[in-house]
């Protein structure tokens, strides 16, 4: 769910936009370093994938269904730079072409759903597979945790923004309690879906899972693009 305009005040929205611009600039530089001129088509197609994956409903039962937010999935599959870029582009296109999420609030949404969720997802997955183990079971547990914590990280970002620039006179602790209790469930579902998809990719093309590759082999395409 994207923050609309008018929900967080203008100064905080503009500050978040500045942070988002900085973060996206870092990711552009990082992606160009690791993917060089393959960046545009690959990140573009990954953005399309994230966009499509967000629309797929996973039925929960009783007529409700969940869907993916996708930042953790994107960074696990294509690495932090291209993954965060792809999710940011999805958010921008949603704001501009679908009126989903405000224009002034785009910075807030990019900070929460791309920078924080992607950053947390990458650190958790990378840290877990490095220090706990990178076997299949461990990688799937890492993917679950990355998905789960990426959602809680995004909620944390939203709560900080709400505390600084929220226009509603409700007690912050009530909002924190409500948001976290709802998003623990959403995060658990995000984790399960993320782990299932990462597992599926690992069985057919394990070489495509960027989170499992040996670090720092920048500027060398992983496989001859054929």
């Amino acid at each position: 769910m994207h923050i609309p305009d008018g929900f967080i005040d203008a100064p905080v929205s503009l500050a978040a936009a500045a942070v988002a611009v900085g973060g996206v600039a870092v990711c552009l530089r990082g992606a160009r370093r690791t993917l060089d001129e393959r960046t545009a088509p690959l990140a573009g197609l990954v953005a399309v994938f994230v966009f499509a994956a967000q629309m797929i409903n996973f039925p929960v039962g009783a007529g409700t269904s969940g869907h993916l937010i996708g930042a953790a999935l994107a960074v696990i599959l294509v690495g932090p730079y291209a993954g965060i870029l792809a999710v940011s582009v999805v958010l921008a296109v949603q704001a501009l072409l679908f009126a989903d999420g405000g224009l002034l609030a785009l910075g807030l949404n990019v900070v929460n759903l791309a920078l924080i969720a992607g950053g947390v997802g990458w650190l958790v997955f990378r840290g877990w597979t490095r220090f706990v183990g990178s076997g299949r079971g461990s990688a799937l547990a890492a993917a679950w945790s990355a998905g789960f914590l990426s959602v809680l990280g995004a909620v944390g970002g939203f709560l900080v923004e709400f505390a600084l620039g929220g226009v509603a006179p409700v007690s912050l602790s009530a909002v924190i309690a409500a948001m976290f209790s709802v998003h623990v469930v959403i995060g658990a579902i995000e984790g399960v879906i993320t782990a299932l998809i990462v597992g599926a990719v690992m069985s057919t093309r394990p070489d495509l899972v960027a989170g499992l590759r040996a670090p720092r082999r920048a500027a060398h395409p992983q496989r001859a693009a054929a």
Partner: protein, 268 residues
């Protein structure tokens, strides 16, 4: 899609083709005007209701000028529903002084905030819906280019809007194949199958990205795309588009000037 993979740029999304004065404005002019309008609306202090009424007249006027039907606009505003729900709760859960309204005791700051959020979110969403409905994906990409968005980012957006239909049709073919084998998504037990499918969708998307890259390289791509269309905007177009944020801005200033006037009058 198989016959024309990425061969044409789909102009769909929310875009409704048309020839209204709003449609005809260049995309970058519209983006700037919409953004400024939204900033002014969000910056407005919540109290004087008539200011928001005046905004509504201006914004609804632009929507009418663009020729998007009211039913379409309302349908596209559904994304606001969760936030409307939050706003409706505010008078009940809000803090501060309580005032009796009918049989209920409601929080006064809660009511004010609910009104503020509803008015601002609705008006700004109307602006966004108008922008999205009158701007094609192709024009948007050209607009971002004109606004000096970094070239690489524009290329990613361009690749995304070009292939979004290809990938979503890839997904509908996979759904059809699953359905043909008797699969219905029902409850969490179907997640494993859906997860496998989404994993496959990722691999196909990624490999398509690699093929697209090679096809681009074989046509001489070296990291930059040639600029084929240049949309330029003359002062007349800027003036027409910026009328909206300027009018909204002037309206927003009236209560401030009035307040300053009363203050000065009281002091003398």
């Amino acid at each position: 899609m198989g016959d024309r993979p990425g061969g044409h740029v789909p102009g769909e999304f929310l875009h409704l083709p048309g020839h209204s004065p709003v449609h005809r404005l260049p995309a970058h002019v519209k983006i700037v005007a919409a953004f400024l309008t939204i900033v002014v609306i969000v910056l407005t202090p919540p109290t004087p209701a008539w200011v928001f009424m005046a905004y509504t007249v201006v914004v609804v006027g632009v929507v009418a000028l663009s020729g998007i039907g009211p039913a379409t606009v309302l349908r596209r505003m559904r994304v606001e529903i969760p936030f409307v729900a939050f706003a409706v709760l505010l008078p009940f859960v809000g803090q501060g002084q309580r005032i009796p309204i009918g049989p209920l005791e409601l929080s006064e700051p809660g009511l004010l905030a609910a009104w503020n959020i509803l008015a601002k979110a609705t008006l700004t969403l109307l602006v966004s819906v108008t922008l999205a409905s009158t701007t094609s994906a192709t024009d948007l990409v050209a607009g971002l280019q004109r606004l000096r968005v970094p070239d690489l980012l524009v290329q990613i957006v361009s690749a995304m809007v070009r292939y979004v239909h290809v990938v979503s049709q890839e997904w509908s073919r996979m759904s059809r194949a699953r359905a043909a084998r008797g699969f219905t998504a029902r409850g969490p037990r179907s997640w494993w199958v859906l997860g496998q499918s989404v994993g496959t969708l990722f691999i196909r998307s990624y490999e398509r990205g690699e093929r697209v890259h090679l096809a681009m390289v074989s046509r001489g791509y070296s990291g930059r795309l040639p600029v084929l269309t240049t949309t330029t905007a003359g002062p007349a177009e800027w003036a027409r588009a910026l009328t909206v944020p300027v009018v909204i801005g002037v309206i927003s200033l009236i209560p401030l000037i009035a307040a300053a006037g009363t203050f000065a009058g009281g002091a003398s």
